[in-house]
Amino acid sequence: MSEENVNADVAALPFEAALKELEGIVARLERGDVPLEESIAIYTRGEALKARCDALLKQAEARIERITLGADGKPTGTTPLDVDN
């Protein structure tokens, strides 16, 4: 249960940071010089990071909106925009 706490920050990491950390963990594990306890801990974190990256990559919805402007040139909201028409 403490594992989840330790890796709670992963859920807020931006994609690039998560990816970079995952790369670092993989590299360390591949070098094979990590003490056993730590290797398990970072492996768990690696799993979490991979899940975070996957989740971010899955959020690939294309939502195209157009800002609607008031008379004073300030934005008032958005409307969907279809450019192919």
């Binding site: 931006p14 994609f15 690039e16 990816l19 995952l22 790369e23 963990i25 993989v26 594990l29 591949e30 094979g32 990590v34 056993l36 290797s39 492996y43 690696g46 799993e47 991979k50 990256c53 996957d54 971010l56 990559l57 959020q59 690939a60 919805e61 294309a62 939502r63 195209i64 909106e65 157009r66 800002i67 402007l69 040139g73 300030k74 934005p75 909201g77 958005t78 925009l81 450019v83 192919d84």
Partner: protein
Amino acid sequence: MERESQPAAGNAPEWSVSDLSGALKRTIEDNFGFVRVRGEISGYRGPVASGHVYFSLKDTNAKIDAVIWKGVFGRLKTRPQEGLEVIATGKITTFAGKSSYQIVIDSLEPAGVGALMALLEERRKRLAAEGLFAEERKQLIPYLPSVIGVVTSPTGAVIRDILHRLEDRFPRRVLVWPVRVQGETSAAEVANAITGFNALPPGGKIPRPDVIIVARGGGSLEDLMSFNEEIVVRAAAASDIPLVSAVGHETDTTLIDFAADLRAPTPTGAAEKVVPVRAELMGFVADLARRHAGAMLRLSDRRRNDLRALARALPGPEAVLSGPRQRLDLAAARLAPALARNARAHELALQGLSRRLEARSPRVALARLKAELAGFARVLAAARGNAIAAERTRIAHARERLATLEARARNAFGQSLVQRRDRATALSQRAERAFGQGVNRRVDRVGSLWALVRSLGPEAVLARGYALIRDEAGALVRSIGEAQPGRALSVQLADGRFDVTVAGGEPGTSRPAPRSAARKGSGSTTQGDLF
């Protein structure tokens, strides 16, 4: 002369100056009510106190005065400046009072690409000097933005290209801020859009973009002018959200490109710069995940193998214990002797220490002090003996001197005594002699005096027939007053005495003694009888 000129004057109508000026003014202003004239600005006088602007337009041969009214000047897109070649649009007006004309300019544009480029270069240098294009102002473009803001026309090829490329690479949420990309209001709209995106609060109703693309398709230099305007450049430089510029074709450079955090050659290029390719990333992440699992697996495999190898290499308990046991036996055997040796060593050390302690004990110190004290006592006794002897010698000496002195004194005293005795004897003899002589002399004198006394004494007087009369008490009666009648008196004569009683008397008159004169009248005595 007058006659010759007369007929000529007669043919031509006569104008007043005002009429002529008015006619010229109408002619000129009717015919040149709208002109475009190209020339170089010369003698520029900025907005004067009234706000109007005056200068001349000239080319190689001619020159015309020009004025821009205050209201027009504020709307101009191209600021007139000395030496700038411009195309001015306006009308010609005349000044009747001065018979001069000028062009009143309504709009102004730089003449030709060269002039425009010079203007832009000047502006670029000025803004660069302010630090708006400095490298350290540049921000990093996020690797994977969740919201992309696009400032461009909402219709046309540009937005379509951007969205298609985003779709191909990594579909994202896109907010398009619609603006006009050329024309009078274009620059203000673009600047407002950039500022507006930055003003969106994070987590608000409209999501704040993580990156902004400012895009426009290709066009002439004049078409792209909005993106050279100072307000646009300043808005781009001030943007807190990383900004990618994509204006015109790859060869076109506008000033916003200098202020942007990143310049993309085309709108499509901008889309490529702001998002990674999703498929590639998915492949990359999958690959990493495989390596991750594999590495962990290999790691545990290797550890298991190592463990196994070590377990095999582990000797049996007997083998493990035999060595230590042997060492224990050896040690046990050596324990007792070692203990004794150790004790002896300590004993020796103790003895050494006690000897040293003894040497330092108070008894030893005391003995040493006593010896010192005895030495001192001896010295003291010797010194005392010496002192006493010396004192005795001194006393003996003194005594001797005293005896001597005493003898001398006694001698001296004896002599003096003898002398004194002799003197005393002599003196006594002299005294005796003197005394004897004195006594004899005095005896003689006494004899003679005594004879005198006797001759003068009462007895002698009595012998001569005088009597002494005394009262009962024996006191002499000297006055007649004392010899009251009846009184018993005694009369002494030289050869005896007899008693009488006074019978009467009277006071004497001849030669009474002064002493008894007072008493003469008081009574009569027997003395009267005697005389």
